[in-house]
Amino acid sequence: MIRSEILREIAPILRDQLVVCNIGIPSQELHAIDDQPSNFYMLGTMGLASSIGLGLALAQPKPVVVIDGDGSVLTNLGTLPTIANNVADNYILMIIDNGSYGSTGDQPTYTGKKTSLAGIARAAGCENVVEVQDVDTGKALQDALDSGKMTVLVVKCDSGNAKMPLITMDPVVIRDRFMTEVAR
């Protein structure tokens, strides 16, 4: 499965959660598949989805699901020790690990070679780290939500992108409608 197929499958689960979605094609795909005011789309700033989601989870009680990528986590590896040492049980970091920089032309990342993000997360001190194959994403995400425990979920899948339109919504609109959902 590629990322867009996974997102389409888990959209019914994501719909009821606060979602912080990674820059580029992941946000475009989620926006096209199931736009919700409870989705915060990153339009820039590669690497910070996990940090934004952690700040959000620590600040309020609703569950937060971060949809991140292997390339973006690699660019902000310091996020994993911060996550591990600031436990928020309403926080799920879901890393769609397709071993490539999808938004820039599918150049390979090191997670498709020797590097294991699940291993790095465990070494950083994260207590609930789950690695699954693409077909098991929905069950693993629901299990993580039901557990009420902070979870890092690494989803191994194929490289590839769906052709989706750019997000043209104003960033302040994205942010404002998201904050309205947070406060609801």
Binding site: G44, I52, G55
Partner: protein
């Protein structure tokens, strides 16, 4: 006047309850004071752009954030300031130790000091420079201004403000 306590009191009085820090020797006292306050959740970050992401999330979650960092971090965070904090119109007070100014003992620090104000000006970030200890009296108004305007605001605090760099 205990400057560390005064700064922390102003943060708390302005409802700031989520503070991320990357340390600097000049900031050690205020970081310790923040760490000791029940009103503030202190979350050290490993890099300043990561810290700004944490602050952005906390603000959307209903908390008032602040970041405490060194001026060298301006070099690290320009993209984050432009494409996250400014693009989405978020408030962010940045208490910054202004290394490389008068009474600085480490020559390399001057290399970023000479770019600091120019970079902040280029980014249209409101910038205040605390040089004398009494300049801290403006902090309360600067914090109110930050959350009124929904912008990142820089407060540069140099070695003279902190009473010299210390024994080094």
């Amino acid at each position: 006047m205990n400057i560390d306590k005064k700064i922390t009191d102003d943060l708390v009085a302005n409802g700031i309850s989520f503070v991320t820090t990357v340390p600097c020797k000049q900031l050690a006292g205020v970081i310790e004071e923040i760490d000791n306050r029940d009103e503030i959740y202190h979350i050290p970050s490993n890099k300043e752009d990561e810290g700004m992401g944490l602050c952005a999330g906390a603000w959307m979650g209903g908390k008032r954030p602040a970041i405490i960092m060194q001026n060298t971090a301006i070099g690290v965070t320009i993209n984050t300031l432009a494409t996250l904090i400014q693009f989405y119109r978020m408030p962010l007070p940045m208490l910054i130790s202004y290394r490389g100014e008068l009474r600085e003992p480490v020559a390399c620090q001057v290399e970023m000091a000479v770019h600091t104000k120019a970079l902040l000006t280029q980014l249209n970030i409101p910038t205040y420079h605390f040089h004398h200890q009494q300049d801290v009296e403006e902090l309360d108004n600067i914090l109110k201004y930050t959350f009124m305007s929904n912008k990142p605001v820089a407060i540069l605090t140099d070695a003279n403000f902190w009473g010299g760099y210390g024994d080094q």
